[in-house]
């Protein structure tokens, strides 16, 4: 599984932290508020109950009191219900009949023993508080105060606190996302610089003053790029020196063998044969050096321009004594491709020469189009390429099984150069079996526009 990104993790951390903090704050506040409100309410209930109890007690001391009528006259409001137990009977207002069941037995026992009591109970599914006040040894006053409204308040409070907790958590997430953007912004500039360097702009450097907190990163980044640039420059100089040192003696050899060739008739047979050997080897060596230098500088980007590839293919054929009618453009929508002329010419030349050397000569050069790609194919009618060689022949100095000592004039680099030139365009080269026998070399170059 892909690990979550730094940004996601930081944001997640912020969210969880904010949620924990706000939730615990909410729970604590809820508890505190609830306790204090309940206590307050309980005290109020007790005060009211004692007041009512006093009224009832004085009423009971009169002769033949009407308890129900007395209870009705009490100031109780909508939430309080009052009950009196006198001489083993319950007295209540008509509306409050049946409430006696809500009075716990423990409370009745306590009151019977002469001790006042307060207890919380549930009546009809709602919380309530029972206040019991002993009046005389044979009478007790009970007041049941419904906490329904308070309960409603608690629900609303819980809802508000929960919403606040969720909002704080969301705020935490937003803060985390926002903060990481600022934290990561300097890293974005590092990433951009690295991309620039990869794209070849080796002069790109970071400004160490721009982000003091990242000074170490920027200085070590810059030092790394300096070293990289220096090494690239050293390599480039080395390649240029090697190139020069190899080309110069080759120029002398090339000129000298042309003198030998021009004076062949003045040489005796044995000398002429030796001169011929030298000529062949110098030509091969020259080709080898050119191919090696080509490969050495192959990492340069393709220099694209509009190129008539069909015309280029015909010219490659003309230059190598191949019939130019083998160039087939039926599958192409247009033959002017936006490619690197030098590289494509070399691809064509190397494939045609490869076909001549190992495949009995090219039988077709086909230009066509695949989705998003230009396709260039060179067919031959030779023995083809064995499956195990199909990849390897594009490697340097690898010759397929078809190549033997007879074909000693190749450098073994031609197809490697083809593959490299294709890659420089962002394309690829491969070899297929030609229907009917022989090999089909295929080069795909991504379409591009000026």
């Amino acid at each position: 599984m892909k690990p979550a990104g730094l940004r996601a993790r930081v944001t997640g951390g912020f969210t969880v932290g904010a949620l924990l903090l706000s939730a615990s704050m909410a729970v604590v506040s809820y508890q505190l508020i609830r306790t204090s409100l309940l206590d307050e309410r309980e005290r109020a209930s007790v005060r009211a109950a004692y007041f009512n109890a006093t009224v009832v007690r004085s009423g009971l001391s009169a002769a033949d009191p009407d308890v129900a009528e007395m209870l009705r006259s009490l100031e109780t409001g909508g939430d309080r219900r009052t009950v009196v137990r006198w001489d083993g009977s319950w007295y209540a207002r008509t509306a409050d009949q049946g409430i006696t069941e809500a009075i716990p037995a423990g409370v009745q026992d306590l009151v019977a023993g002469g001790t006042p009591a307060v207890q919380r109970v549930r009546v009809d599914g709602h919380p309530a508080v029972v206040v019991a006040v002993p009046l005389t040894p044979s009478a007790a006053f009970y007041e049941i105060d419904s906490l329904r409204e308070l309960d409603q308040t608690f629900r609303t409070l819980a809802l508000v606190l929960a919403s606040v907790a969720i909002m704080v958590a969301c705020g935490g997430a937003a803060l985390g996302w926002y903060a990481t953007r600022y934290v990561l912004r300097p890293l974005t500039s590092v990433a951009r610089a690295a991309e620039d360097i990869a794209a070849g702009k080796v002069k790109t450097r970071l400004d160490p003053a721009a982000e003091p907190d990242l000074a170490r990163l920027t200085t070590s980044f810059n030092r790394m790029v300096d070293e990289l640039a220096e090494r690239l420059e050293r390599d480039r100089r080395f390649a240029a020196d090697v190139s020069h040192e190899l080309r110069s003696p080759l120029q002398t050899l090339s000129a000298a063998i042309s003198v030998l060739a021009a004076r062949r008739e003045h040489l005796d047979t044995r000398t002429a044969a030796a001169a011929e050997l030298i000529t062949d080897e110098v030509n091969r060596f020259q080709k080898l050096v050119q191919d090696l230098l080509e490969l050495a500088r192959g990492d340069q980007p393709a220099a694209r321009s509009g190129v008539d590839v069909a015309e280029l293919a015909r010219r490659v054929c003309r230059g190598r004594g191949v019939d130019e009618d083998i160039v087939d453009t039926d599958g192409a929508t247009g033959t002017v491709w936006y490619v690197d002329r030098r590289r494509v010419e070399q691809i064509l030349a190397n494939l045609v020469e490869n076909a001549a050397r190992y495949g009995g000569g090219a039988t077709a050069i086909r230009l066509s189009r695949a989705p998003g790609h230009h396709v260039l194919e060179v067919d031959d009618s030779g023995p083809g390429v064995s499956p195990q060689d199909k990849k390897a022949i594009f490697h340097r100095f690898v010759r397929g099984r078809a190549a033997n000592a007879r074909h000693g004039d190749g450098t073994g680099l031609g197809l490697a150069i083809v593959a490299q030139h294709a890659a420089a365009h962002g394309g690829r080269a491969c070899v297929l079996d030609r229907p009917g026998g022989g090999a089909r070399f295929r080069v795909e170059l991504p379409e591009d526009t000026p």
Binding site: A240, S243, H244, R247, S248, P249, L250, Q251, T252, L253, S254, A255, A256, S258, V259, A262, R263, Q286, S305, G306, D308, E311, L312, R315, R318, G319, Y338, R341, E345, P450
Partner: protein, 224 residues
């Protein structure tokens, strides 16, 4: 017989080139430094000059500029350096063509013949082309801008005549290489640099050419 001057500091390369060119039927002479080559050329002008770029003392680029200052002798650079930078700098200094070492002698000979052919190339039958303030007289080998005569090398002159002959039509770089340089396929930088040099001589503002315009992705054309 065609005389060729070889300015090359490497003794072995110079000697082998002189021998090979002589075997091809040229009258070749060598010079180890630019100073010696310039002195030789002033005393007894050769018909073509081969120049190496890395020379002790006066370097190849400066040597080309000096040669060009004197006359329009065909100059062919033979260098081991093949960076675009060097190729363009040498052509801008005034060289007509550029080959990279090692060059096969038949190839070198073909380039020299092409350069020489350009000198003798038959000029179009039309005696005079006028493009606004630009006037070309192919038969007289004269070009003037606003009545002032302009000195062109032969390659530049051939290039201008070719474009004038096809005035208003686009010529691709490959077509120009074929018609002016006589090459079947070649380095298109040759065309670009020569067009640039030509513009500096015939245009009022070479960055915004009025006559010799680039048609993007196609080639060049000369217009009124």
């Amino acid at each position: 017989m065609t005389a060729v001057l070889v300015i090359e500091d490497d003794d072995r390369i110079r000697l082998s080139l002189v021998l090979a060119l002589e075997a091809e039927g040229y009258e070749a002479r060598g010079a180890a430094t630019a100073e010696e080559g310039l002195a030789l050329q002033r005393r007894d002008a050769a018909d073509a000059v081969l120049v190496d770029l890395m020379l002790p003392g006066i370097d190849g680029f400066e040597c080309i500029r000096e040669l060009r200052r004197d006359d329009d002798v065909p100059i062919l650079v033979v260098s081991a350096r093949d960076d675009t930078h060097d190729v363009v700098a040498a052509l801008e200094a005034g060289a007509d063509d550029y080959v990279v070492k090692p060059v096969a002698i038949p190839e070198l000979s073909a380039r020299l013949r092409a350069l020489r052919r350009r000198l003798r190339a038959s000029v179009p039958a039309i005696p005079r082309y006028v493009f606004g303030d630009l006037e070309i007289r192919p038969d007289a080998g004269e070009v003037s801008v606003g009545g002032e005569p302009v000195a062109l090398t032969r390659t530049e002159f051939r290039l201008l005549c070719e474009l004038a002959e096809h005035a208003g039509r686009i010529l691709s770089r490959q077509q120009l290489l074929q018609r002016v340089w006589d090459y079947d396929g070649g380095d298109e930088r040759l065309v670009d640099v020569h067009v640039g040099r030509l513009r500096q001589k015939i245009e009022k503002d070479s960055a915004q050419p009025q006559h010799l315009v680039t048609v993007r992705g196609m080639g060049y054309k000369l217009q009124r």
